[in-house]
């Protein structure tokens, strides 16, 4: 289906809207009119537009126009002029004095007293004989991935509503909304409700969901491209399916950045009929100026490895200085921390440079955002925490430090520098090492071609479905047949098999175990008429406490206290007794890897780990220049398949090297000379000795996650081949395995066959055996266990320590895997492993692609191409299941200091 061309009809916007546009000096944009037309034609639509295109207003215009046009006969007061001005309280949202709402003017006109309400005509309920129907009521639901965004959008909507004096009530509903207001919203809904996918799920699970949503005309889904890539998207899709049932007239508007497959994304917005695939109409906002993207042409020597881009610090600083406001994106929090510190160390001009990332305290982040909006900052070093959200002040430059990882991701980041659509965004890419130069080069080409690499639409996961099934039962009893059909109208679940559905319902009911002994503990049961219903009110309570799909790593609070040691120069520690200032939060697994006294960078400074008390990590200021433990989080997003392919093509095409910096070109030429530069479809394997070990390095270019999995599996195979592997390290491009066996010699003698080593059959038994003990798989399972409701993380009253939850799900995984390997939760976890932390699907595609195309080079020393990954050794954590080795090392120390423990070995 080609994107629909809109024919702007003059009457799409009422006069007072046209006057308002004129007053602001705007004229309605074509895509805004297109959406109005589609609303009039009663069609759902996907709007694809870059930042700054007036996307949000476009999404709300149809609603604003409809609500201002409704005649009193339809149950709404029409407001022609200021004569009919509503009270101020009607449009102001989220004001605390709004606790008990005054009657809505539009609903007082013809409202008979509600049978449900004690109030006098607060809601217009009309009996239709068999049922009660409402006039007015909730008209539009807006859903955003960030609650902060919902709040900001509400604020932004105030302007047109106030200036045109529209009789429209807008409210937000987030996790922070007080209980009293939530209750009121259910009884007296606003015209427009702004909320999140989790809150929608909660609303749908209440028994007055039919009452609340039957009047719904429109749902607006913001940042849809970001929502649909995660399990939150699955949850949202199931919520939409429910809404289509409750409000058959509801139409959807999706707002999205540019994606690779708009047709597929547009399926999300309309109910999928069985066996068919239908999409909403697509509107593409044009006219965005081409962004200007360059790679930093550094005067310094380009590093071989690492991600800090320290070599380019001075140049980054100069760029910040030369521009009004610069956003400096990096890929990980630790990089953000380090870069921020380094910039301040050289900040002789005292430029206002701030730090923003997801583990900083919320209040701290808000402060930075506000300063940013107020135009008070010259630079912000940030992570993906600023990828989404409302537009910030006058950002005139985006600097992306490190690998761009994906073309679409880069374009979205670049778009943050553009708040007026007709002005070109400017961006500078700063590669941190030589491989990243290649990645930056192909990313710039991709941006120029407007090539997108957003992931395809997800297949809905079963753990989210389980949560939804329980939510449905909490609302009203359901028939399995009906719910199965309803669920399949959601695009991600269109292909859901009946077996998977039934198993999920069984799981929700009594665990879905082959051993049927939990019937008496069932959470939902079928009644005589065959409908599933909740067995007791506690089940509802548990569901409501635990709704949602964001299972975060266990986070510990980091507090700054005065250290015991520290020579204490004239450290400005301030009054920091015990319980000191909260710096933010940190992943538990990072802290677990530390020993008291280790230093790391956090909150913009080097801190020393002092102690861990329950969920509080106490740290003190360290006076060291560098931190001992370098990183506390790898990059979250792996190199996209698309960019990887372009990098391989670039390597393959020697003529294209002309576009690369001299240093990089020389590096590649040297590689071609001493070894081989891998062809676009080849897998190159190099083997060489170094010190007393033998190395095998391969270059799949499939991202760190897939390489880690490959490393695990290859190590097992090499062990069987008696190559005595000791460890491996992976980066985005390559994998290096080292060991005691001389792999070159083994290959020469035919004792090690590379084709067999890389045979895709490793994804059979080897994978199974490894998954049994893989810590990553256990983390994946834990997420499924929490989302599906097997394990609760939140209880009424006290919160059970998440630490306990993590431990017990590992035990559950072991037992379940052994006794019921096809259990629905294990299936869900396996599906996640295909794309998540283990990236098995990508590995499998690669292994298939390179069959018969393995190029081996036996070298007498490390090759230029291998240097970057070799330098990661000792810098990155070495992965492996070698727990025994680690324990043995600790035991060794005991033997050394053997005295004092005579009881040993006697």
């Amino acid at each position: 289906m080609p994107p629909r061309k809109s024919v702007a009809k003059p009457d799409l916007l009422p006069d007072h809207f046209l006057r308002w546009f004129a007053m602001r000096g705007w004229s309605p944009r074509e895509h805004q009119l297109a959406l109005l037309q589609m609303a009039r034609d009663d069609r759902s639509a996907l709007l694809i537009a870059p930042t700054g295109a007036g996307k949000t207003l476009a999404g709300f215009l149809p609603t604003l126009v409809e609500l201002s046009n409704l005649s009193p006969l339809a149950g709404r007061g029409r407001l022609e002029s200021a004569a009919n001005k509503p009270g101020e309280g009607e449009r102001i949202i989220e004001t605390p004095e709004f606790a008990e709402a005054p009657p809505h003017p539009s609903r007082t006109a013809s409202a008979p007293a509600s049978p449900r309400k004690r109030g006098e005509g607060k809601n217009a309920l009309v009996s239709t004989g068999r049922t009660v129907q409402r006039t007015g009521g909730l008209h539009t639901l807006y859903i955003s991935p960030l609650k902060a965004l919902a709040v900001d959008i509400a604020r932004n909507l105030e302007t047109p509503i106030a200036e045109m004096q529209l009789p429209i009530k807008v409210e937000t509903r987030t996790g922070d909304t007080p209980v009293s207001r939530r209750a009121r919203q259910r009884r007296y809904p606003p015209d427009i409700l702004l909320t999140t996918p989790e809150q929608l799920a909660l609303l749908l699970s209440s028994d007055d969901a039919p009452f609340l949503f039957s009047s719904l005309k429109r749902v607006v889904l913001d940042e849809l491209h970001a929502l649909v890539t995660s399990k939150r998207g699955d949850l949202l899709s199931l919520g939409l399916a429910r809404l289509w049932k409750l409000a058959p007239e509801m139409r959807a508007i999706g707002l999205s950045a540019t994606v690779a497959e708009p047709e597929s994304l547009a399926r999300f917005l309309v109910p999928q009929p069985p066996g068919e695939s239908v999409s909403a109409d697509i509107v593409v906002a044009g006219g965005a100026a081409e962004p200007v993207v360059e790679m930093l042409d550094t005067k310094e020597r380009l590093p071989w490895a690492g991600h800090s881009a320290r070599h380019a610090l001075g140049e980054i600083y100069d760029l910040i200085k030369a521009n009004k406001t610069t956003l400096v994106f990096v890929n990980t929090r630790s990089q953000a921390e380090m870069l921020f510190q380094d910039l301040w160390r050289m900040n002789d001009d005292g430029l206002a440079i701030a730090l923003h990332h997801g583990s900083l305290d919320v209040a701290q982040r808000r402060k930075v955002e506000d300063a940013m909006s107020a135009g008070k900052l010259r630079g912000v070093v940030c992570t993906s925490s600023l990828d989404l959200g409302v537009d910030w002040g006058d950002v005139d430059l985006v600097i992306n430090v490190g690998a761009p990882k994906g073309a679409s991701r880069l374009m979205q980041r670049i778009g943050r520098a553009n708040h007026r659509i007709d002005e070109a965004s400017r961006a500078v890419l700063v590669p941190a090492n030589r491989f990243e130069v290649l990645e930056c080069r192909v990313a710039i080409d991709a941006v120029a071609e407007n090539a997108q690499d957003t992931p395809p639409l997800r297949t809905g996961s079963l753990d989210v479905l389980a949560q939804h099934v329980l939510g449905c039962a909490c609302g009203a009893p359901f028939r399995a047949d009906d719910l199965y059909n309803e669920v399949r109208s959601a695009a991600p679940y269109a292909e859901l098999s009946r077996v998977d559905f039934d198993d999920t319902v069984e799981f929700v009911a009594s665990g879905g175990y082959a051993l049927k002994i939990y019937e008496r503990f069932a959470r939902i049961k079928q009644d005589a008429s065959g409908k599933w219903r909740v067995t007791n009110p506690k089940v509802r309570q548990m569901y409501r406490m635990n709704v949602g799909t964001i299972v975060e790593d266990t986070m510990l609070k980091v507090r700054l206290v005065r250290g015991d040691s520290g020579k204490g120069k004239k450290g400005v520690t301030g009054a920091l007794a015990r319980g000191g200032r909260m710096l933010g939060q940190i992943e538990e697994y990072f802290i677990e890897g530390l020993v008291v006294g280790d230093t790391f960078v956090f909150g913009g400074e080097v801190v020393r780990y002092e102690s861990l008390v329950e969920d509080q990590v106490y740290v003190s200021r360290a006076h060291d220049k560098g931190a001992k433990v370098p990183s506390y989080m790898g990059g979250k997003f792996p190199l996209s398949t698309y960019l990887a392919e372009r990098v391989r093509k670039l390597l393959d095409d020697e003529r294209a090297w002309k576009g690369l910096p001299d240093q990089v070109r020389e590096w590649l030429s040297l590689q071609a000379h001493v070894s081989h530069v891998p062809g676009a479809r080849e897998l190159m394997v190099e083997t060489f000795p170094r010190a007393d070990k033998h190395y095998l390095v391969c270059y799949p270019f499939e991202g760190r996650l897939a390489h880690q999995t490959l490393g695990m599996l290859l190590t097992r195979r090499l062990e069987r081949a008696r190559a005595r592997p000791l460890g491996f390290v992976a980066n985005e491009y390559a994998l290096a395995i080292w060991g005691l066996g001389d792999t070159s010699h083994m290959i020469r003698q035919g004792r090690l066959d590379l084709a067999a080593l890389f045979d895709p059959d490793m994804l059979g038994d080897d994978l199974e055996a490894w998954l049994a003990e893989s810590a990553l798989m256990k983390r994946t399972f834990r997420t499924c266990a929490v989302i599906s409701g097997l394990i609760h993380t939140r209880f009424t009253g006290e919160e059970k320590s998440r630490r306990q939850v993590l431990f017990s799900t590992d035990l559950i995984y072991d037992v379940l895997r052994k006794h019921q390997p096809d259990h629905v939760l294990l299936r869900a976890a396996r599906a996640d492993a295909a794309t998540g932390l283990l990236d098995i699907r990508r590995l499998s595609d690669m292994l298939t692609r390179i069959q018969g195309r393995i190029i081996h080079r036996e070298l007498d020393r490390v090759s230029p191409l291998a240097v970057p990954v070799m330098l990661e050794i000792g810098r990155e954590a070495v992965y492996g299941e070698a727990s025994d080795e680690l324990l043995a090392e600790a035991a060794e120390e005991l033997v050394k200091e053997a005295a004092g423990f005579e009881e040993m070995g006697s």
Binding site: F521, E773, Q804
Partner: protein, 230 residues
Amino acid sequence: MHAETITVDMSTVSIAGVTLAADLSGALYWEEQKLLVVSDLHLEKGSSYANRGVLLPPYDTIATLGRLGAVIARHDPRIVIALGDSFHDRDAHERLSPANREVLSALQMRRDWIWISGNHDPALPPDLGGTVAEEVAIGPITFRHEPTGAAGEIAGHLHPKARVSTRGRAVERRCFASDGTRAVMPAFGAYTGGLNIRDAAFARIFQTLGFVAHVLGDRRMHAIAASRCC
């Protein structure tokens, strides 16, 4: 595919002059007495949670009994002591499936079986087979559920586990904790969590950090100084 693969690996622990073998499974074996001790089986923990709405897989009892069967088969002990908290709650024994009850009876055949009472299972009925006792003393050794710190005591209750960190990576495993005079055994049950040996509860028993964690690795035992753990 689901065969038990427990390598026979043991490390020796001396308590009050008696030498015992700390088994990789988490059991303790006293060769001279042909006596096997396991602690904190927590049978039917899964169904106990299910009763409260958390539908854990109902396979923990069979898993625990399976591992117990394997270690019994390996040592063929004359006496088995279950060191308390053998059942997760007071009614847990009533929820034992007939099949699991039979497995248990088979394990009890041809040997003395002693159930030490624990805080989770203070009143075990006689029809479970074996003898119920508060504590058992054999030679210089006293077996009881809750550790008091007395010399010659072998206890359970605390579910000791040890954590070791090196170069940013941590490993955490169940362990025996012993200073040569007394010992605390790891929990044997499939769903049993653990308490870090650096917790104050262990300081009350051992007084100092001068004790050793005999850590259950993946394939072998490791004796690590408590002071080295974190």
